[in-house]
C-alpha cells in the first residue's frame, strides 16, 4: 500500500498543473466573488461560506477530472489489470494522494478565506476540519464520476456523480452552520468523519469495478 501511495504521490507531484491548477482556481474564485458583488462586509460575511462550499464542490470535481484518464490512455491501467494487481489499493492510493496534495490545501485556503471574512481565529481550525473531511468525501464521489466517464469527457462525470455529492454538501452546510452558531460542532464533525470513512472504504471497491468494466 505504501508503495502505491509513494508512486502516486511521485506522479502527482510532477504534474504541477494537476495539483496547482485547482488550488489557484479556488483562490481566484474566492477573490473574484467579493469583487463581483456590491454589498457590505457584514452581509458578505453571512453568506461567504456558501461561496467556499460551492467552490469546494466545483474545484473537487476539477481536481479529480483526470485522476484515471492519463493511466487509462497510456495503458498503465490495462497493464495493472493484466498483471492482476490489487485495483482497490491503487484506487485508494490515488484518491488519498489527491486529497493530501489538493484537498487538504483547498481546505486550508477555505479556512483562511473564512477567517478573512468574519470567522474568529479560534473557529478557523474548525472550518478547516469540516472542509478537510468534506474533500475526502467529495474526492471519492468525483473519482467515481471520473471512472465512469473515463474516456467520455468530464461533463458526463458531473452528470453521473454530482447527485451523489449533494448529500455531502448538505452535511458540509450543516457543519459550517455549527461553527457559525457555535454549537454541535463535535457531533456533526464526528458524523461527517463516519460518512467519510464509509465512503473511503467502499468507493474504491466500486471504482475498481468500474475501471475493470472499461478494461474488459
Amino acid at each position: 500500500m505504501i508503495n502505491f501511495f509513494s508512486l502516486e504521490a511521485f506522479k502527482l507531484r510532477h504534474k504541477l498543473r494537476a495539483w496547482l491548477g485547482p488550488l489557484l482556481i479556488m483562490i481566484l474564485v474566492l477573490i473574484a466573488f467579493p469583487l463581483s458583488i456590491d454589498i457590505s462586509q457584514y452581509d458578505l460575511n453571512k453568506f461567504y461560506f456558501s461561496v467556499i462550499v460551492v467552490s469546494l464542490l466545483m474545484i473537487s470535481f476539477l481536481a479529480t477530472e483526470s485522476i484515471f484518464s492519463e493511466d487509462y490512455e497510456d495503458g498503465s491501467l490495462e497493464q495493472i489489470h493484466l498483471e492482476e494487481k490489487d485495483f482497490y489499493k491503487i484506487t485508494l492510493a490515488k484518491i488519498l494522494v489527491h486529497v493530501l496534495f489538493i484537498g487538504i490545501p483547498m481546505a486550508l485556503i477555505g479556512s483562511i478565506f473564512s477567517f478573512a471574512n468574519g470567522v474568529s481565529l479560534a473557529e478557523a481550525p474548525k472550518i478547516f476540519v469540516i472542509l478537510s473531511i468534506s474533500t475526502l468525501i467529495l474526492f471519492n464521489v468525483f473519482a467515481f464520476g471520473s471512472a465512469l466517464s473515463i474516456n467520455k469527457g468530464s461533463m458526463l462525470g458531473v452528470v453521473a456523480s454530482l447527485p451523489l455529492a449533494l448529500p455531502a454538501i448538505v452535511l458540509l452546510g450543516r457543519g459550517v452552520r455549527t461553527v457559525q452558531y457555535g454549537q454541535g460542532f463535535f457531533e456533526v464533525s464526528v458524523l461527517m468523519a463516519g460518512v467519510a470513512l464509509i465512503v473511503t472504504a467502499l468507493m474504491p471497491i466500486i471504482i475498481s469495478a468500474t475501471l475493470k468494466t472499461h478494461l474488459e
Partner: protein, 217 residues
C-alpha cells in the same frame, strides 16, 4: 394498462368528487391523489432498478439491464410529475412554488439521477459496457432512496411527515385513505404496464439483429 387506468380513474373521481374537504387545507389537499402515488412510484421505480442492477452485476442477467434502461425514462416522467404536483400544492399551503427543503431537494436529486443514468447509458456505443456502468451507477445511487424517505424525520422540513406508515398505520381519515390507496394501486399498475411496454420496445431495438426479432416483426 386498462386495469391501471381504471383504478386511477376510480381513485381520482372518488378523491376529487366524493372525499370530504380537509379541515385545514380545504380542497387544495386533493392533489395528494396524484402527488402521493407519483412520489411513491418515483422511489419504488428506482428501488426496482437497483434490484435489477444487482442482478445484472452479480448474475449478468441481460434482461435486468434492459429493464433498468426501460424503467429510467418512466422514472424521469413520474419524478417530474411528483415534483410538479408538489410545486402546485406548495402555492396554497406554503405560499411558494419551491422551497429548498430536504424532501423536495432529495427528490430533485433523484430526478437528476434518473437523467444521469440515461445520459451515461447513451454515451457508450458498446451496449454491454454501458449496461454494466449504468448498473454500477444505479447501485451507488440507491443511497438517495433512504435519504428521501427519512428526510422529513432527519431534518426539520416544511414538508409534512408520512401520513401512511407500515408500522404506525395511517393518520388520515378512511374517507380519504381509500381513494388514496386505490390511486396508489392504479398508479403502480399503470407504471408496470408502461414499463412493460417500453421494455418490449427496447428489447426489440437491442435485439434487432437476432433471428427471433426478425421473425417476430
Amino acid at each position: 394498462m386498462f386495469l391501471g387506468f381504471s383504478c386511477l380513474a376510480m381513485g381520482w373521481i372518488w378523491g376529487l368528487a366524493f372525499a370530504p374537504e380537509d379541515a385545514i387545507q380545504g380542497n387544495s389537499y386533493r392533489i395528494i391523489f396524484l402527488h402521493v402515488p407519483a412520489s411513491i412510484m418515483a422511489q419504488l421505480i428506482y428501488f426496482f432498478m437497483s434490484i435489477c442492477a444487482l442482478m445484472h452485476l452479480v448474475w449478468r442477467v441481460k434482461l435486468a439491464a434492459y429493464l433498468i434502461k426501460s424503467a429510467a425514462p418512466v422514472g424521469v416522467l413520474i419524478t417530474f410529475i411528483a415534483l410538479f404536483s408538489g410545486s402546485i400544492w406548495g402555492i396554497p399551503t406554503w405560499g411558494t412554488w419551491w422551497q429548498w427543503d430536504a424532501r423536495i431537494t432529495s427528490t430533485l436529486i433523484l430526478f437528476i439521477m434518473y437523467l444521469g443514468i440515461i445520459t451515461l447509458h447513451s454515451s457508450f456505443s458498446n451496449a454491454e459496457k454501458a449496461d454494466r456502468l449504468m448498473s454500477i451507477l444505479v447501485v451507488v445511487g440507491v443511497v438517495n432512496i433512504p435519504i428521501i424517505k427519512k428526510s422529513v424525520d432527519w431534518w426539520s422540513t416544511l414538508h409534512q411527515p408520512a401520513s401512511i406508515s407500515i408500522s404506525d398505520g395511517a393518520s388520515i381519515d378512511p374517507s380519504m385513505l381509500y381513494p388514496l390507496t386505490i390511486s396508489i394501486f392504479g398508479m403502480a399498475l399503470t407504471m408496470i404496464a408502461l414499463g412493460i411496454l417500453v421494455s418490449k420496445l427496447y428489447i426489440l431495438t437491442r435485439e434487432k439483429n437476432k433471428k427471433w426479432v426478425q421473425s417476430h416483426v
